[in-house]
């Protein structure tokens, strides 16, 4: 019933030219047509011979000589994620109904019922945070509540999906997965002056609804696609350079060790991010649980061997088809203990022979392109599942596979394997259309359920089967962005260089490398902290600098992930320093002050006192929580304002002349700011239902 429903049925032909010409809704926001090279590349890719057509063609299953089969004595081949996803036979018609059907089947099997739909205020807040990472305005909320038309919900969804904030929100979680930062890390932790172009590329890719296969190809092998004029594809290869880099390794003759670490890091991150494979676990020995050998790690690593060592020029990587350093299996992962040499090769359980690589020119070995094409091969059993699972997690807080970077035996098995497969196939057949996935998920009844826990449902807080939605705390960036948004401070910007917010002096002074920069003794390497004027930092948090050795404390305390390894899922912890930061930090107080000014400006100061106070309180609730206060709240705040005012006046009297400068401010004003601080710290503001 929603946009595109044309070829849901059994299309097992994976020729991309078909959908591109036949399905106009898919082409409309695809950038594919504009780039003939990419279009050709994609059309030329069909299900490759290196991947099985169906489950019975997993090489290790059919081929007695397969090294993985021999290595593990034929075991480990029943790993669920090895099997290529297939649509379950019995599904409803209509995309979102399939989701609901598959969720309800599981619920019914244990005697549970899905929850009723959430109210509209909850729905628009949920949609707004999930799709744009910002709270809805009161006006938006009221308009949606009042909209009686049958497509009211779809209209809201489409508005959020086409908002420029959509890309910012989605880019944030992708940057977690690829461990993005603006600095090198280690001793000097130098600023990378142009890496923000990669961040902007990711924002743009989501906003343009770049098909996911293209997104993958560009990041891993944009330079090898042959699209000379495609700047985006060059910038996208910034992905290959996101890892930490120790510029001092060379001074201590540790360059070889460090290069080995970097290659391992890139191998592990790529396997986690795109495939949900834990290649880091088979670096020193064969994998303990999964059908992966130590050789597989190094075969995978060999795809990156032709990358030339990093130089300071960001714009693109440097490859070479000549003089590619040999890649050896390393005994115990030790770079000084090479064993036999290996050629680039895909995961042996599926494809034991070396990869077929076509070198296009001297300047490019073609290795990464071969890898990227294998990753986006529709027959790859992991790529589509891993991505749809990440999107599911965005919308429900937990993935169908709760360990999004680990689709192996030690990860969580899918709670709804058929649903995961159905989404994966649907995703590929839609032309890897990310917005399409969002649409079918958010239009499902499952997504739209209330998050209320019901005393009638027995399994307590457990909700793996999704009999309700999950309530969630806002993540660090969403919380900060929401603070700026409701206080009227948030400035929309079109990407660009990262902004440097003020951080406490002692944190910069705690850093030897920053001290060196403060004394201008860092040889122009940009080791410092370059605080921007506060107004320039009132931008979405994705545009703030991510310095590896000095995370912004306000964000860090709200579970900002470490940017050294791929982060699949944010933690949600509750600790006292969060309360201190949100109540007392200068940035929080400034937001409260700004909110107070905004509200007071909007309320007629000539109203009788009683009405004016009620109007102020009401307007503040509307602005911060997108709703009006109820009677209990109104009374509580009204009482607070009166008492707080008195307290400030009596403090002033008691302290006499002391601190008169501060205490001369009007007690009414300060009481109201305190109310603003309270409401900005409230659970309702920090959580979504």
């Amino acid at each position: 019933m929603h946009l595109r429903a044309k070829f849901l049925t059994i299309i097992v032909l994976f020729s991309f030219s078909i959908y591109a010409t036949e399905d106009s809704t898919l082409a409309e926001d695809s950038t594919l047509a504009e780039d003939s090279t990419l279009a050709e590349d994609r059309a030329s890719r069909t299900s490759s011979e290196s991947l099985p057509e169906s489950t019975c063609e997993i090489d290790a299953v059919t081929n007695p000589e397969n090294p993985i089969r021999r290595l593990f004595g034929g075991e480990r081949l029943d790993l669920w994620s090895l099997k290529r996803p297939a649509r379950p036979m019995k599904v409803a018609s209509g995309d979102s109904q399939v989701i609901d059907q598959l969720i309800r089947e599981r619920l019914q099997s244990v005697g549970l019922e899905p929850s009723p739909e959430a109210d509209r205020r909850t729905l628009i807040r949920r949609l707004s945070f999930d799709l744009t990472g910002l709270p809805p305005t009161f006006e938006e909320t009221e308009a949606f509540v009042a909209d009686q038309s049958s497509d009211a919900y779809s209209k809201v969804v489409e508005r959020f999906l086409s908002s420029p904030h959509y890309g910012e929100r989605q880019a944030r979680w992708w940057l977690d997965v690829v461990r993005y930062a603006d600095t090198h890390g280690y001793e000097r932790d130098e600023f990378r002056p142009l890496i923000w172009k990669y961040r902007d590329y990711v924002v743009r890719a989501f906003n343009e609804n770049k098909p996911y296969d293209q997104f993958v190809l560009e990041q891993i092998a944009g330079d090898e696609l042959g699209a000379v004029n495609n700047t985006d594809a060059r910038i996208a290869t910034g992905y290959l350079r996101l890892g930490q880099w120790d510029s001092t390794a060379e001074i201590f003759d540790e360059k070889d060790r460090h290069r080995a670490e970097q290659l391992a890091d890139l191998t592990n991150t790529t396997a986690s991010a795109f495939l949900g494979l834990t290649m880091s676990c088979c670096q020193c020995h064969d994998h303990k649980y999964d059908p992966l050998s130590q050789e597989d790690h190094y075969r995978f690593r060999a795809f990156f061997a032709s990358l030339q060592p990093i130089d300071e020029d960001f714009m693109g990587v440097t490859d070479s088809s000549t003089e590619i350093p040999a890649v050896h299996i390393l005994a115990q992962g030790d770079f000084q203990s090479p064993l036999e040499e290996v050629a680039p090769g895909f995961v042996s359980v599926l494809s034991p022979t070396p990869a077929d690589i076509e070198s296009k020119s001297d300047a490019s070995s073609g290795r990464r392109l071969a890898l990227a094409r294998w990753i986006v091969d529709p027959a790859n059993p992991w790529t589509s599942r891993v991505f749809v699972n990440r999107l599911w997690q965005l919308h429900f807080g937990v993935g169908i596979v709760a360990t999004p970077n680990d689709f192996g035996y030690s990860g969580s098995p899918p709670t709804h394997p058929e649903l995961l497969d159905w989404l994966a196939v649907e995703f590929v057949e839609s032309g890897w259309d990310i917005r399409h996935l969002h649409r079918i998920i958010v239009h499902s009844d499952t997504y739209r359920q209330s998050s209320q826990r019901s005393s009638l449902q027995s399994p307590g807080s457990e909700n793996t089967l999704l009999w309700r939605q999950n309530s969630r705390r806002l993540d660090a960036e969403t919380l900060r962005d929401s603070l700026l948004s409701v206080s009227g401070l948030l400035k929309p910007v079109d990407g660009g260089k990262p902004r440097w917010p003020a951080v406490p002096d002692e944190l910069t002074h705690a850093q030897p490398a920053i001290l060196e920069a403060i004394k201008e003794d860092d040889g122009g390497r940009m080791q410092g902290w370059y605080t921007d004027p506060v107004d320039d930092t009132d931008v979405r948090s994705i545009y703030l600098v991510r310095k590896r050795c000095l995370p912004i404390p306000f964000l860090q305390v709200f579970d900002l992930p470490d940017s050294t390894t791929s982060c699949a899922r944010r933690d949600t912890t509750i600790v006292a320093p969060q309360a201190l930061a949100l109540l007392n930090s200068p940035e929080s107080v400034r937001v409260a002050e700004s909110l107070s000014v905004l509200i007071r400006q909007e309320v007629d100061q000539n109203l009788p006192d009683d009405q004016r106070v009620a109007a102020l309180i009401t307007r503040c609730f509307e602005q911060v929580l997108s709703r009006q206060p109820d009677g209990v709240e109104l009374a509580a705040v009204r009482e607070f304002l009166g008492q707080q005012r008195q307290q400030y006046i009596s403090n002033q009297t008691a302290e006499g002349g002391e601190n008169t400068e501060n205490l001369n401010g009007d007690p009414d004003g300060r009481a109201f700011i305190d109310f603003c601080r309270a409401i900005l710290n409230s659970n309702e503001f920090c959580y979504m239902d």
Partner: protein, 481 residues
């Protein structure tokens, strides 16, 4: 008591180790399935004390991190042969072996260099200490030196990461995070893991990061001046009316939670604000050194005319006060500038300066802890990221030396008046009982009653441990009593 013993029993038999089973619940909000009640670190009170597998010798730790790489044979590891060969070319016996980590020999001259120190034996145990550390030397009967440590990097940031997190790659949880994750803390009104520094180590906050462990276990900086904890108080004009603001917020929160029954996180967040409020006064109290006697203040040298010593004295005194109040893990960084002990040239000056700054406060800490009976349950650790070369570098300097250096421990569970392992006759390489850093970590965890292999966390498909692959470490023999 039945519940405690059954809990211990559970911990012992749980095979996977108690902190490990706590993971799943901790990682997620309360929406995630948990398998057994005891499996979880309570997200609402993550620092609740957890019992170790065995009765521990040590309950708390003060780690005095000697940033920059102190030359330990200039301080504790007496090398008369080096004195004899001062000014001579590097002997073949040192050169013959490969510079495996790299970058050590290349920057050095072909010349051995001894320090100008006088050495004496101290205490009943007769341990040698140079005249750089005359005060600390008085406590050598409490100290066990480990003279055969080696590192895996000759570069500050990776080696500092290794000493603090067990890995040369940044991005792993620090020792203090692992310890508080495993054991919680003894005072719920204070952070469990506190950092004190003027200048941290190269590599920055990655040295006290929780990395993939939950944020409750990250190092919190306790400031030696001003408000002791960042954002402890609002800007001045909003002080004096904080409780009522908090009360309003909690009224709104309870009203909100009443419509969302069963969602524990909301209650947890309400509780976290009360904890923050209590932390304000608890932390302010600890930060108030004026309540200490004049004698104690003098002991630590907090008013010394050497400002660096006074500052380090305040940090040492604060760390005793933190331990006294039940903070599980306190770490101090000694550096006052970006160099610390890093004497690439004029090594003597660097060492005189750093020793003058740290000697008295370190000795005071040991004496004060002992006098208050706290040394029985507190393990004090003294370690840098590596040592320095006996070969001269540049202008009377010494290069980094990852091949052999000394660290020491004192207090709870430690066999004092003792030294284990040895470097070669010139102090370059650990030759007798050499130990990697993970063995030091294993020894520390063991002193805390934690079995190193049982302290793990599953992330990205791996069981991550401070001490690396299971059974790849050993507890350093002779250190623990």
């Amino acid at each position: 008591m039945a519940s405690i013993s059954s809990r211990r029993q559970f911990l012992r038999t749980a095979g996977a180790g108690f902190p490990a089973v706590a993971l799943a619940a901790m990682m997620a909000s309360s929406d995630r399935t948990v398998t057994a009640a005891e499996d979880r670190i309570d997200p609402l009170s993550p620092l609740r004390e957890r019992l170790s597998a065995v009765v521990p010798a040590a309950k708390q730790i003060i780690f005095l991190f000697q940033y920059g790489g102190p030359s330990t044979f200039d301080l504790f590891d007496y090398k008369p042969e080096l004195v004899k060969h001062h000014g001579q070319p590097i002997p073949a016996s040192l050169k013959e072996q490969q510079d495996k980590v790299g970058g050590v020999f290349r920057h050095c001259k072909d010349e051995l260099m001894a320090g100008p120190w006088r050495w004496r034996q101290y205490g009943e145990s007769g341990q040698w200490v140079s005249d750089l550390m005359p005060e600390t030397a008085q406590h050598m009967d409490k100290v066990c030196q480990i003279r055969s440590m080696y590192s895996e990097s000759s570069n500050h940031a990776p080696a500092t990461y290794l000493m603090n997190t067990g890995a040369i790659l940044g991005g792993k949880p620090s020792l203090g995070s692992w310890v508080t994750y495993g054991l919680g803390s003894l005072n719920q009104n204070l952070p469990g893991y506190v950092m004190l520094y003027k200048v941290g180590g190269l590599g920055g906050s990655a040295n006290w990061s929780n990395a993939f462990l939950p944020a409750a276990f990250q190092g919190t900086q306790f400031r030696h001046e001003g408000d002791p904890v960042l954002y402890l108080q609002p800007p001045e004009q909003y002080r004096g009316a904080q409780r009522s603001t908090l009360d309003l917020m909690q009224t709104l929160n309870r009203h909100h939670a009443a419509q969302r029954s069963g969602f524990e996180d909301l209650e947890g967040r309400i509780a976290s604000y009360e904890l923050a409020y209590r932390m304000q006064s608890a932390a302010m109290d600890i930060g108030d050194l004026g309540t200490e006697t004049e004698a104690t203040q003098q002991l630590y040298g907090i008013h010394d005319s050497n400002g660096d010593k006074a500052m380090f004295g305040r940090m040492c005194l604060l760390s005793r006060r933190l331990v006294e109040k039940g903070v599980r893990f306190v770490q101090l960084y000694t550096a006052v500038d970006k160099l610390g002990w890093d004497g690439h040239s004029q090594n003597e000056d660097y060492h005189r300066r750093n020793a003058a700054q740290t000697d008295q406060p370190t000795a005071a800490l040991l004496a004060d802890l002992e006098q208050r009976g706290l040394l029985d349950s507190t393990l004090v650790i003294w370690a840098g990221e590596f040592g320095r070369t006996p070969m001269m570098q540049g202008d009377f300097g010494r290069n980094h030396n990852p091949y052999g250096f000394t660290v020491w421990m004192a207090g709870a569970g430690v066999r004092g008046g003792n030294a284990v392992g040895a470097t070669d006759e010139f102090g370059l390489r650990a030759v007798e009982d050499p130990h990697p850093v993970k063995d030091l970590h294993a020894t520390i965890l063991t002193a805390l009653g934690v079995r190193p292999d049982e302290l793990y966390f599953e992330t990205n498909g791996r069981q991550e441990r401070l001490t690396g692959v299971a059974e790849s470490w050993s507890v350093i023999p002779g250190v623990l009593s």
